[in-house]
Amino acid sequence: MKLLYFAWLRTRIGKGEETLTPPIEIRTVSALLDWLKAQSPGHAEALKNLDVIRVAVNQEHVPFDAPVGPNDEIALFPPVTGGSR
């Protein structure tokens, strides 16, 4: 599974992407986020407040109950801030 991190998630986790193999029972975004928190102190710090985390699976915005699989590209990021202010 390919994981991508953007904005302050990238700086807190310390990398922009990584390939991980979560256990087979990890089948939703929610379960994946809980599992990721245990990967390193950086992951735990970046993911401590899930209210400010948004998720895309294969480049589409998804809710936390969306399914995830081993071949998916999962991106984690804060709420987007494009355009002008």
């Binding site: 480049q59 915005h61 990021f77 801030t81 494009g82 355009g83 002008s84 202010r85």
Partner: protein
């Protein structure tokens, strides 16, 4: 059409290119977003726009397709920049053209409101107090919510 690029764009030139020879067009509306030098009471030096290559293009194309479903547009263009930008620099351009002005005005407003909440861009601002990731603005969600279709 959509474009994501580091380089600046020329709004006048883009408008001419999009509409020339298209004599069914009766009205063109454009929105140009600029970098301001103040945000939340802090002076902004420069900012860096990060994005998610691939998803950005996909989301902008989906937003544009949605606008074309809702309004009879003859042509449309979204250009969004990334990378380092200074106050006064152009960030984003939205152009909509239609036989009649109402569709062009509404679609332009829809596109800028929706892209702000759906396109994966993040701003890192250089402020007096150091570099700071910009938080999403609840006003942007409210602006986008106006365009959610009632079931």
């Amino acid at each position: 059409m959509i474009r994501v690029q580091r380089e600046d764009f020329d709004p006048g030139l883009e408008l001419v290119r999009l509409t020339e020879g298209r004599h069914e067009i009766g009205g063109v509306v454009s929105f140009v977003g600029l970098v301001r030098d103040m945000a939340g009471g802090s002076k902004i030096g420069a900012m860096t726009l990060e994005h998610y290559p691939g998803m950005t293009e996909k989301q902008l194309a989906a937003i544009e397709a949605e606008a074309n479903k809702r309004w009879p547009l003859s042509a449309s263009l979204i250009v969004h920049r990334y990378g380092k930008l200074e106050p006064g620099d152009r960030i984003v351009l939205v152009i909509t053209a239609s036989p009649h002005r109402d569709a062009a005005f509404d679609a332009c407003r829809f596109l800028i409101d929706w892209l702000k909440t759906k396109a994966p861009f993040w701003k890192l601002e250089d402020t007096d107090h150091g570099a700071k990731w910009v938080d999403a603005d609840a006003k942007d969600d409210a602006a986008a919510a106006r365009w959610v279709k009632k079931p």
